[in-house]
């Protein structure tokens, strides 16, 4: 059970934060189909930053001294850098769709094609292979929080909650959850949030009340890019052992599906992303899931092909979209370039 909850969180949290990225863009009126591409870019930048720090041996002293606080600082810095670069990358989409009134679907697709191409081009030149990894060690030995990290004894029993939420976890997971809560409150309970959302519903009315629609849409898409870049690095850190391969296995698109399933509302999105995280976790680790701790790996014993579990998240997404599409409510003005003259 502990394992199941931890794995679900590890897969669910990147979905959560990237789905919120989608909400920020769409609520401001821009369809951000480029989430996948921005995630790929953010993952690359984050891993590259960690590598550069390792090359420069900035944190080696802290690592040998067992100063885990400094290493958590490195993780936070890498997250920050990934978010900033994700935001910068997303400016390509904002510029095309806000200033040049481009087709947002094609613009987003272009970014989705550009990110893996650029990333793989540089990875091949830097590492001479198609994967960019940490120079030494792995994400578990550098960044994972364990019992010993927190000063407990190796054999200490922390109880169910302690074992689940304090042992073998990443700080990034909790940062993302806190960010999700804070940003959701900003989007729904502040004046700024209301103004942003109004640009996605009726930009003409918002404009007539003195809101700068263009600036609001830039803000929404940039926040979206930052969150997606951050989510991409968190995905690479927690599920891919801090390696960048120019691919996030369709997580950006899954996040879009989570957003639609969650009806563009934070609480529903939180639930949806945990559900999808659970399916992703089953797909990735079905053979080692021991639900009630009796040593029987139920899912592995049923004898269903592993390929079935792997395609399950995508199949469920399609089915869920099919059954919920009738009741979902998208921001009204999303995808439509803002034209002052239009009423």
């Amino acid at each position: 059970m502990t394992f199941l909850i931890q794995q679900t969180l590890i897969y669910g949290v990147p979905l959560l934060i990237v789905a919120l990225a989608g909400v920020f863009a769409e609520r401001s009126g821009i369809i951000n189909l480029a989430l996948e591409g921005i995630m790929i870019f953010g993952a690359f930048i984050g891993v590259l930053f960690v590598r550069l720090m390792q090359t420069a041996a900035v944190f080696d002293a802290a690592r040998t001294a067992g100063n885990y606080l400094a290493l958590q600082g490195l993780e936070l810095l890498a997250m920050l850098v990934a978010a900033v670069c994700g935001a910068i990358f997303s400016l390509l989409l904002s510029f095309a769709s806000i200033n040049l009134r481009a087709d947002q679907t094609i613009g987003g697709t272009a970014l989705n094609l550009l990110a893996p191409a650029l990333v793989l081009f540089f990875i091949r030149i830097i590492a001479n292979q198609n994967t960019l990894q940490m120079i030494s060690g792995d994400s578990a030995s550098w960044f994972m929080i364990k019992k010993t990290t927190l000063g407990f004894d190796r054999d200490a029993d922390l109880g169910f909650f302690g074992n689940t939420f304090l042992h073998k976890v990443y700080l990034a997971t909790y940062i993302c959850i806190i960010l999700f809560i804070v940003l959701s409150i900003i989007l729904y309970k502040t004046r700024f949030g209301l103004r942003l959302r109004s640009c996605g519903e009726n930009p003409q009315a918002a404009d007539s009340l003195g809101i700068n629609v263009k600036r609001m849409r830039y803000t929404g898409t940039t926040i979206s890019g930052a969150l997606a870049g951050l989510g991409g690095f968190v995905y690479a850190l927690t599920t891919a052992n801090c390696a960048s391969t120019g691919d996030v296995a369709g997580f950006g698109f899954l996040a879009l599906a989570v957003m639609i399933f969650g009806n563009w509302k934070p609480l529903n999105i939180a639930g949806a992303s945990l559900l999808f995280g659970l399916f992703k976790c089953i797909a990735a680790a079905y053979s080692s899931i021991d639900i009630n701790g009796d040593g029987v790996y139920a899912l592995a014993n049923i004898g269903i092909s592993s390929h079935f579990y792997r395609l399950l998240p995508y199949l469920i997404t399609l089915l869920v979209l099919a059954f919920t599409s009738k009741s979902s409510r998208a921001p009204k003005a999303e995808g439509i370039p803002y034209d002052k003259g239009m009423r």
Binding site: I31, L33, L92, A96, S97, L100, R101, A102, D103, Q104, T105, I106, G107, T109, A110, L111, L113, L114, P116, A117, L118, L120, F121, F122, R124, I125, D247, A249, G250, F253, L256, A257, I260, S305, H307, F308, R310, L311, Y314, L315, T317, L318, L321, A322, S325, K326, S327, S328, R329, A330, P331, E334, G335, I336
Partner: protein, 420 residues
């Protein structure tokens, strides 16, 4: 109609062509700049390496390798040109696939999945029917048709959910892509089609030539010695012409385009929009599946079956091909050739320099990015502002618009009835 009065440079067709060419040039220049800066910033590559990379990006198709002294040599390279024709074959087909869907207002990003399903069924038929019992030609034809049907059926899925449940076809397509990748791996895992004879080739399916099935060469191999080219490129061109006739000269084509221009108006005019959306996606899927069949029935190509973590690039490259060709099936032939040329250039870069083939993907992505605002580029070329923006090939639709699922077309008559 008024072509005689409009000067050549102001004609719509000319402007569109110029816009596409401008996109290509900008894409190549940006790609070249990246190569230049990376080269100058990397001591191992240096200025000499950067200049080699630049020359290859712009003229890589004419590269003949390196001379004994290590300098790049240039000239007509029949192997490269033949391989370009060969690689153009699948992207012309997926380009047609994306273009047909665009015409109906749908963004078929599901071409990779349809391509994979076409591959799977084609290979199973081509390798599963023993050519000792059935003539190889018949097996080829059956496999080709099987690929088309598989692609069409797979394309139907996003079409159906779009038409009846109004789910955004982009998301549905992406999901079917990943499902297809997993299904293909699932089907081939443990099957008897895995290549176990050549044990250096782990993870591959047999070439169809193991069963004596291969596309005829028609002498093209003598014209372009050392290349993989075969008659498949001619079939692709025939398909492009057929699609041109279908879209421009038949009632079906007119109905498809009417649905793309305005789904609700088309329905008002008595055209079944749902039927046409499904049909358009089925045709698009069939074309992508046919492209996969042509590629893998060549006899000299191998399919890597543990593909569940990646999608075929041929499918995605259909998108830039269709956008560059502005959804014109004849234009798709040339755009497909250009895309294949970029592909060859990428290989030359990988083989001859410290750069790699991914820079050509960057160029492709930039071209797609530019075509997103092709309208602005066209206005830049004509140097004037249009009062009525000409419609793009693709009408942007938000993911889900339940309000429009049942458009109030008959509202007026309904109100009239109440008054009466």
């Amino acid at each position: 109609m008024t072509h005689e009065k409009t000067p050549l440079l102001k004609r719509d067709g000319t402007v569109k062509l110029l816009a596409s060419l401008l996109s290509i040039v900008i894409g190549l220049v940006v790609g070249g700049l990246i190569v230049l800066f990376v080269g100058l910033g990397n001591s191992e590559i240096g200025a000499a390496g950067a200049s080699e990379g630049l020359r290859l990006i712009f003229a890589g198709i004419l590269s003949t390798g390196r001379s004994a002294t290590g300098a790049l040599t240039w000239g007509f390279n029949p192997t490269n040109v033949g391989n370009m024709l060969f690689r153009a074959m699948p992207v012309i087909m997926t380009g047609l696939s994306v273009a047909v869907a665009f015409k109906t207002g749908l963004f078929n990003i599901g071409a990779p999945g349809q391509y994979l399903m076409g591959t799977m069924v084609s290979l199973i038929i081509a390798l599963g029917i023993d050519t000792a019992a059935v003539p190889a030609g018949c097996v080829w034809l059956l496999a080709f048709l099987g690929g088309i049907v598989a692609g069409a059926l797979w394309g139907c899925i996003p079409g159906l959910v779009k038409a009846f449940l109004n789910i955004n076809e982009v998301l549905a397509c992406i999901m079917t892509n990943w499902i297809a990748a997993n299904v293909v791996t699932w089907v081939f895992d443990g099957s008897r089609f895995r290549n176990v004879v050549e044990n250096t080739k782990s993870g591959y399916i047999y070439k169809t030539s193991f069963n004596g099935v291969a596309t005829p060469k028609l002498g093209l191999d003598r014209l372009f010695p050392g290349s993989q080219v075969n008659a498949g490129i001619l079939i692709a061109v025939i398909f492009a012409i057929a699609m041109y006739i279908l879209m421009n000269k038949t009632t079906l084509g007119y109905e498809l385009k009417a649905c793309g221009a305005n789904r609700h108006a088309a329905r008002y005019a008595g055209i079944s929009d749902r039927r046409n959306i499904v049909l358009s996606m089925a045709i698009a899927g069939a074309l992508a599946g046919a492209g996969a069949s042509l590629y893998y029935l060549s006899g000299n190509t191998e399919f890597f079956w543990t593909t569940y973590q990646s999608l075929p690039a041929e499918g995605f490259n259909g998108i830039p091909v269709a956008l560059l060709a502005l959804n014109n099936p004849i234009g798709v032939i040339f755009a497909g050739l250009f895309m294949a040329m970029l592909n060859i250039i990428g290989l030359q870069l990988t083989n001859l320099t410290a750069y790699n083939e991914f820079i050509t993907d960057v160029i492709i992505a930039i071209i797609v990015y530019l075509s997103a605002f092709s309208l602005v580029i066209r206005m830049f070329i004509t140097g004037r502002k249009r009062k009525v923006p000409p419609k793009l090939g693709y009408e942007p639709t938000p993911p889900v618009k339940p309000a429009e699922a049942e458009p109030p077309i008959v509202q007026e008559s309904g109100e009239g009835g109440e008054i009466a």
